[in-house]
Amino acid sequence: MSFVIIAGITFPIVPTPLYWYEFPNIPGLEEKAKIIFFHVPTAWISVIAFLMAMIYGVKYLKNKNLDDDAKSASALQLGMIFCILATVTGSIWAKFTWGAFWHWDPRETSIFILLLIYGSLLALRSAIENEDKRARLSAVYSIIAFLTVPFFIFIMPRIMTGLHPGSANDDNAGPIVDFKMNANMMLIFYLSLIAFTILYFWIWKIRYKTIIIDEKIHKNN
């Protein structure tokens, strides 16, 4: 992670990279292209977290084990945090690339809808006192909510015209990750995805263990 941060910030962007530590210049983005090492992994983690919330929701419905609900809840909380971070970092980037913090671009609209969907789920969880009822409703909601994720993250922003790289009218004819990065930039990008994924699993584990211990203590009281 430290290497990704140092490399992502300090490696220079040059018109024609000659050395292993140089990144290619992407017209219109220049230094701002480096956001890809930090913004994309946050969106990636939120998708993984929502997927895991769904998987543990299914597990809960199958085994009725409250530990699975704790794992699902922990993934939901982390997914929400990373979804907010993806929105905020994207919005800062938009201000300096497109001129304003928010444009209702298809990508911005889709992440806003996802925030509403999962925000409602967290609100629902906090409104129910009964553990079993809360776990059951949350499991069903997280399964239904995840069905919308591929559409809002991977399909809608790519079939509609918009400002975000990878939109239907993108002159680059595809997501920016496919061809404009050189091998060196790709390596840092994938290292960043791996590092953020490891960080996610580490925090998720600590969080769900905390929830499980907390529930057990309150049950014994």
Partner: protein
Amino acid sequence: MESGLIHFLEKNSIYIVMFIVLVVWIGIFIFIWNTDKKLKEIEKELKEK
């Protein structure tokens, strides 16, 4: 002052990237801090028992 800062960031876009990294770490820090707070509460309850 605000337009001066935006103008500075527009001219030195590497600071935008650094600011974005800072935002990501603040978010992660808040989440870990919140988890630590919960753990401290659990510790306190266990000690009281």
